[in-house]
């Protein structure tokens, strides 16, 4: 591989107080690739995303985006860094004081070249691309079901056509049918905007659907990664235990929250 990876992490460590979450995290994602990180609860998946976004500061190691160092940025550079990303949060994290269309248009409406009317039109187009009608735009997030909120959150994440999109447990808390709808939408909308994506999940059906490559996180390190077709023959007892959801095996479940 000669091209620079879109995102490259090497030797990243992060601890809170005396509790170490990431201990030497290495990973690289190529442009346009969809990587899914699997791992049990409390294995540091969410922390990884927040470190790359610059919401948390790492202790050691390096995070490069487009070959440029992205750890320990100052305010101005951090704003520029964060503007490359879109993120779908686990609980959707929609702004409940704003109607749906203002949520979706939140980022683009701040551009000086965009009038409120154009922004609203764009928001309604984006809502249509995730299968929602224009009248949903005037409702408030609290009036929608969980699955609908997820769709709105997805629309908000892709509305500004970011280069990189993060999905934090996109199917958690949804019924299997709605989960599959969301997976389909993720695959379709990502292809449309041509983004590089990184998802974290413990839902194997979702991982198989949206991933090009799968990496498994255990105790703050990547213990296995490979193409998604290879996961059933990984030869790694940790991966086997996880994908078959067995209580018995080498993985010891963490009781305390990360």
């Amino acid at each position: 591989m000669t091209s620079t990876p879109k995102i490259e992490l090497s030797g990243v460590t992060k601890s809170f107080g005396n509790k170490t979450i990431l201990r030497g995290f290495d990973l690289s994602i190529n442009k346009g690739e969809s990587l899914v990180i699997i791992g049990g609860s409390g294995s540091g998946k969410s922390v990884t995303l927040k470190c790359i976004l610059g919401l948390l500061d790492i202790d050691e190691g390096s995070i490069k985006v487009d070959g440029k160092e992205a750890a320990h940025l100052k305010r101005g550079a951090l704003d520029a860094h964060q503007s490359k990303f879109g993120m779908l949060f686990q609980g959707s994290a929609l702004f409940d004081s704003l109607p749906v269309w203002r949520n979706v248009a939140f980022k683009i409406i701040q551009s000086p070249h965009m009038s409120t009317k154009e922004a609203k039109e764009h928001a309604i187009e984006t809502l249509a691309s995730v299968g929602l009608t224009a009248d949903i735009g005037d409702l408030y997030p609290a009036e929608l079901s969980g699955g609908m909120q997820k769709r709105v959150a997805l629309a908000r994440a892709i509305a500004s056509k970011p280069e990189i999109i993060f999905f934090d447990e996109p199917t958690t808390g949804l019924d299997p049918i709605m989960a599959d709808v969301i997976n389909e939408l993720i695959v379709k909308s990502v292809r449309e905007v041509g983004a590089t994506t990184m998802s974290i999940t413990h839902d194997m059906a979702s991982a198989r659907k949206i991933a090009d490559r799968i990496a498994m996180l255990y105790e703050g390190r990547i213990i296995w990664h490979g193409r998604k077709e290879e996961i059933d023959n990984s030869g790694n007892p940790y991966v086997d235990q996880f994908i078959h959801g067995r209580a018995e095996g080498p993985i010891k479940m963490q009781v305390r929250k990360a």
Binding site: K50, L53, G54, L55, D79, Q82, S83, F85, G86, M87, F89, Q90, G91, A93, L94, F95, D96, F106, K107, Q110, R156, A157, S160, F166
Partner: protein
């Protein structure tokens, strides 16, 4: 445990809190003066903090003025000094009771609501979502509240002063058979501009403290519903105590300047 260690630990914890608060304060104040500004957010806070607090502040100062007239009548009638009552009422209200009572009531009303709103936004990841949508949470959430708190509380107190003096007037004229015209002229006689303005300066400082403590506690809340509850309590308690302490310091300052 070693008693020295307990003292040392408490001192270190206290210093850590002061440090965090100072960092939060400088960052937020800087954001009040740097573009982009969010006029919609600022206007919303003006209405929330200013307009909707009027009834609470009005009722509080009205009854404070009334009870002040009754109590000073009890005292002053013992040595035939009833004519001093209008002066006592207007000076106490404008210099002390107006700003302090309004400050404490608004701390309960607004400090709590800021902490609860921002705390909920923190635990539902809405504050993280702002960062991924190219919006600085300090600018979008904290700065409008600080601006509105600092500018609105003096206005509220000015209205409260007038209502409080009117409360004293009501009691004296309708209950204690004072002459209305005399009461009003005596109210003006010894009142100086600086009596009112010193109270308004206090109010501006109190408004800033209320918004700052609400935002700080909300921003740093952790761990779901209980965390938000704790943040709300802390916001009201710390704002109230800081109001009482700074009131003493400011009063000292204003007296020293004369």
């Amino acid at each position: 445990m070693n008693p020295l260690a307990i003292i040392g630990r408490a001192l270190l914890d206290f210093l850590a809190i002061v440090g965090r608060l100072t960092r939060f304060l400088t960052r937020s104040v800087k954001m009040c003066f740097l573009p982009p500004f969010y006029p919609r957010q600022i206007l919303r806070q003006f209405i929330d903090i200013g307009y909707f607090s009027l009834p609470v502040v009005g009722l509080t100062t009205l009854f404070t003025g009334m009870v002040l007239a009754l109590q000073s009548h009890t005292g002053f009638s013992r040595f035939d000094a009833e004519s001093a009552i209008p002066t006592v009422v207007v000076l106490s209200i404008t210099r002390e009771l107006g700003p302090v009572m309004a400050g404490l009531m608004v701390a309960g009303r607004i400090g709590a609501s800021i902490a609860a709103e921002l705390g909920t936004m923190r635990v539902t990841e809405q504050i993280d979502a702002l960062s991924t949508l190219s919006t600085n949470p300090f600018k979008y959430l904290v700065a409008p509240r600080l601006i509105a708190g600092t500018l609105m509380l003096p206005l509220l107190v000015l209205v409260g002063d007038i209502i409080g003096v009117f409360g004293g007037f009501l009691v004296c004229v309708y209950d204690l058979q004072f002459n209305a015209a005399n009461y009003i002229s005596q109210t003006w006689e010894y009142l100086e501009i600086s009596d009112v303005t010193s109270g308004l300066w206090k109010a501006a400082v109190f408004g800033f403290i209320i918004a700052l403590m609400g935002a700080y506690q909300g921003f740093n809340s952790r761990g779901g519903a209980q965390g938000v509850g704790t943040a709300t309590t802390n916001a009201v308690v710390s704002a109230s105590i800081l109001i009482l302490v700074t009131n003493y310091l400011l009063t000292g300052l204003f007296f020293a300047g004369r």
